[in-house]
Amino acid sequence: MGVVQGDQMVLNIGPQHPSTHGVLRLEVTTDGEIVSKITPHLGYLHRCFEKHAENVTYEQVIPFTDRCDYLASMNSNFGYVVAMEELMGIESCERVQYIRVIMAELNRIASHLLALGVYGLDIGAFTPFLYMLRDRERILDMFEYTCGARLLYNYMWIGGVSHDLPKDFEKICIEFLDYFEPQIDEYNNLLTYNKIFIERTADVGVIPADVAISYGVSGPNLRGSGVKWDVRKDEPYSIYDRFEFDVPTGTGEFGTLGDCFDRYWVRMLEVTESVKIIRQALKDIPQGDVFETMPKKIRPPVGSIYRRTESPRGDLGYYIVSDGKPSPTRVKMRSPAFTALSCLDEVSSGWMISDVLAILGSLDIVLGEIDR
């Protein structure tokens, strides 16, 4: 445990703790229930992604990106292939672009469902978590039907995707969306509008917009603070500029702008937006060969690129340096969860222990991505 100094007590939350979302250790200085300082200790899942990336070829990096953000592997893949295609100056065919968007948005729903469910669990509600996981399973089924894997897909390749969509995918996907949309109301009735849930999340852990930007907080966490920033809209990549969707931002509905409830609520709204995008994409998807634009040899020219994409957790950036050899000189992943976690100390000092875990849950961190 820690050192006791006067009337302050040091409490170690983690590395093994039910609600640290993985193996994170928080060294919390408390005065009774009130928290005065938090020192996060990372690295319990440091799996040397960047070292591996330097030692394997460009295509072989993709499976490692899967394992970084294991809740949204499609989006991790997407970021890497978008950066690589830009570095190589190639463009994949239309069908591939549509398939990628559909997969990425489906995975965004899956990831948000888990985030929302686990957040309920952090607050103490067990049942919504399982309801959301139940619906997430159906998304995983569709992924499995397409590429054979449930969690880590290695689906998006440079210039293409590993498998074309199955013939009846469209039908299955529409069926799922029709089933899923009414479910959102059920979650809201069960969890969102629960009085206790609102009491626990509204006004708690407010991140003002300027603090959020200074800490590099991005994605739903930044939008929860009222900043309308979405890479899909503001720096469109792939074919996101063709779809109509809103960027939901926090409104401080039950409390202050930028509190835990706003972050939670933005995620819930984003799920609906993703459904919209998928419906549009399914309507317009052209026929074609998904292997058509895949380069035979991947040997990007000397140079470097930094490209960011919108993963469910925020701006997922890849910095890739090539020196003309078959394997990259450097691949750096700018992980959104890493930046989100960094503001924990500033946001949660002065709150109670229960609130710290509520704030941590609302940031939706994935340790695989923080530690890489």
Partner: protein, 163 residues
Amino acid sequence: MGVLENKFQDNVVVASLDKILGWARSTSPWYFQFGLACCAIEMMASAASRHDLERIGMMPRSSPRQADVMIVAGTVTMKMALRVKKLYEQMADPKYVISMGSCATSGGPYWQHGYHVLKGVDLVVPVDVYVPGCPPRPEALIEGLLKLQEKIQTERPLTRKLA
């Protein structure tokens, strides 16, 4: 346990008592919520509605003291290895370990250049069942747990062991 363990000669009574104890232990292996990485998500999926680990009597516990099975779900790093060992030591006997996924078994995809990855959790704690896969499907995990239950049933906790 302690007091009674391995104290008795083999006979009919002890054998049937052993059988009852083995039944009880194998029927209620409570697992330790110990998610490390990607595999933890599949472990959660196994416990959730579709696969439902509770069917085979598994209940999650978050304190090591009350758990019987530690499912090492995910990559164990050097920084974590010492903690894994400590948590294992904190569990009360009888305790079992399942190494879930190739990372926990051997380092998995990270075995070659993973300077910070422990090459197999069996370097720090004894493992009863290895479940392969990256990550193993929930079905695979359940199969591993059933194998563990079979193993527990063959144990004879009361019978004195031959030297």
